[in-house]
């Protein structure tokens, strides 16, 4: 029984991080209506940022958040303003290609600047664990999970109770009508993209104490985030969080009890099965899915 609980804990901790990364993608998709294929690269960039701050200035990964988060927010804003805004009125395919282009560009820039080497930080708490009644919990993973939970709650409160948050939700529903209200839609796009990048960055930085970074690390995150966002429902933040945990747990159990090599394949199969039954995702509102060909 302990063994099952241990696997469950592993899965949940992993899922928290997944949710954090995916929520940024969901925000960007929901508000800006762009399928951001460079999402994983945002995670990558934040991880490198954390690594270099550690390497060059001896800055602890958690402290580096103070630098990395604003920087990545700004990066997201710049990306949206100068690269994506100009293609916003073109076709969905065009927007998609643009983000794919950004993704390739960022990967190769990382490769040129920082080489293909994988980099990791060493902290005194990297390997620290909590042990009780036969269970082992990694502290940095627990911290990451806690921060994921907290920031997703904060995002929820922001969207629910602030005027700007309400405007963002209005844009998610109907940006043309939002405009009629005097909502400066493009400026809110900047905010949404910045926030999306910030959440990915948070995920990336929190992973650094127990993970490594290399130029192509982003690809799998992008794929994973797409699965989670679609599964949880486009536009549903709570759905994304639960779907993230769901995928993490599936991955842990499938990996442990079926085969570690098949765990990705298994969650993709489950993903497809869920979509067959509920095309709008587990918690989706059903809108917006047509844009990625699910409806």
């Amino acid at each position: 029984m302990d063994f099952y609980i241990q696997v469950l804990i592993s899965g949940l901790l992993l899922g928290g991080i997944y949710a954090l990364i995916s929520i940024g993608l969901n925000l960007i998709f929901g508000v800006v209506r762009i399928l951001n294929f460079a999402h994983g690269e945002l995670v990558m960039l934040a991880m490198y940022g954390t690594f270099w701050l550690y390497k060059l200035y001896d800055l602890d990964p958690y402290l580096s958040l103070v630098v990395v988060l604003p920087a990545m927010f700004l990066f997201g804003v710049v990306l949206q303003r100068f690269i994506l805004q100009p293609v916003l009125t073109t076709s969905g395919v065009m927007k998609m290609f643009t983000t794919v282009g950004i993704s390739i560009l960022m990967q190769n820039l990382a490769l040129i600047l920082w080489k293909g080497d994988f980099r990791a930080v060493q902290t005194f708490y990297s390997m620290s664990t909590i042990k009780f009644s036969g269970l082992i919990i990694s502290i940095p993973r627990l911290v990451a999970f806690g921060a994921a939970l907290l920031s997703i709650i904060l995002l929820y409160l922001f969207l629910k109770y602030t005027y700007v948050g309400k405007a963002l939700r209005a844009i998610v529903e109907d940006h043309a009508t939002a405009r009629l209200m005097g909502i400066t839609v493009e400026r809110h796009y900047l905010l949404a993209f910045g926030l999306g990048a910030l959440f990915s960055a948070l995920g990336g930085t929190l992973m650094m104490p127990f993970s490594s970074v290399y130029p192509t690390i982003g690809g799998p995150f992008t794929a994973l985030a797409f699965v989670i966002v679609v599964l949880g429902g486009l536009g549903s933040m709570g759905g994304t969080f639960l779907a993230g945990l769901f995928i993490g747990v599936i991955e842990a159990f499938a990996g442990t009890f079926v085969s570690p090599g098949l765990k990705e394949a298994i969650y993709f199969v489950i993903f497809l099965l869920v979509l067959m039954v509920r095309p709008q995702g587990l918690f989706g509102m059903g809108r917006g899915t047509e844009e990625i060909g699910l409806k």
């Binding site: 109907d174 043309a176 009508t177 405009r179 009629l180 209200m181 005097g182």
Partner: protein, 234 residues
């Protein structure tokens, strides 16, 4: 107050507005009537900045507003209640109303404006924490108009207000429009529902195939034989 002069407008190759000119005088209720696809909504879209036009100009309070984006047009004091209400379905009634006051000049006073809207439509106050999607058709229309009022407009444009409403409800809505006009807001009504509109409008334009074919004080228009035959079914 609002003055459209010689507007030509295209959807791709298709010309939706041809040399369209009309005026909305301050303090009046002005109606734009016409059959389906005559260019009524396009006229509103052109005014609100959502649809670019190739020829002509639009002046609001003597100032040209060509090229101003929709989110800025509302700042000038022009609010549009779009066809089909277009409420934010998953947001609450209150949130919908609040967002109506997003424009710069309305934002500060939104608390006060909200109370005025609640006074005008008490039902919205009762429903304030319900999602807009759960409202009945009539309530939705009230909410949409209330949202338009939240922008503190000088000119309120309402597109197809009576669409999908029962005759009794529609009648009530038109009465409501008169009340709104009475507090000093100029109203531009775009309608297919001719009877009720003519009851409340001071001045009427008839649009057919993107062109104004007839205009005049509502009483004169109502007396016109062509209008009687085509629109009033007499």
């Amino acid at each position: 107050m609002l003055n459209l002069k010689g507007i030509d407008c295209f959807y791709g190759d298709f010309q939706v507005l041809r040399d369209l000119s009309l005026k909305v005088e301050a303090g009046q209720i002005v109606a734009l009537l016409g059959p389906n696809a005559a260019g009524k909504s396009s006229t509103l879209a052109a005014i609100s900045g959502a649809l670019p036009y190739t020829k002509g100009e639009i002046n609001f309070c003597e100032k040209p507003i060509k090229g101003i984006k929709p989110e800025k047009v509302v700042d000038l004091g022009i609010a549009l209640v779009p066809e089909g209400r277009k409420l934010f379905q998953t947001l609450t009634v209150r949130e919908n109303l609040e967002l109506g006051a997003y424009s710069r000049h309305a934002r500060e006073k939104r608390g006060k404006t909200l109370q005025q809207v609640y006074e005008l439509f008490p039902v919205l106050k009762d429903r304030s924490s319900q999602t807009a999607g759960s409202l009945s058709g009539g309530e939705q229309q009230m909410c949409a108009i209330g949202r338009g009022l939240m922008a503190q407009p000088r000119l309120l444009m309402i597109d197809e207000m009576s669409l999908g409403l029962s005759p009794i409800l529609a009648k009530q809505m038109f009465t409501m429009v008169q009340e709104i006009a009475a507090i000093g807001i100029t109203i531009f009504l775009v309608e297919q529902q001719v009877h009720h509109t003519m009851r409340v409008a001071d001045y009427t334009y008839i649009i057919e195939k993107g062109h104004i074919t007839m205009s005049g004080p509502t009483k004169e228009i109502a007396a016109n034989e062509h209008v009687k035959k085509t629109y009033l079914g007499m």
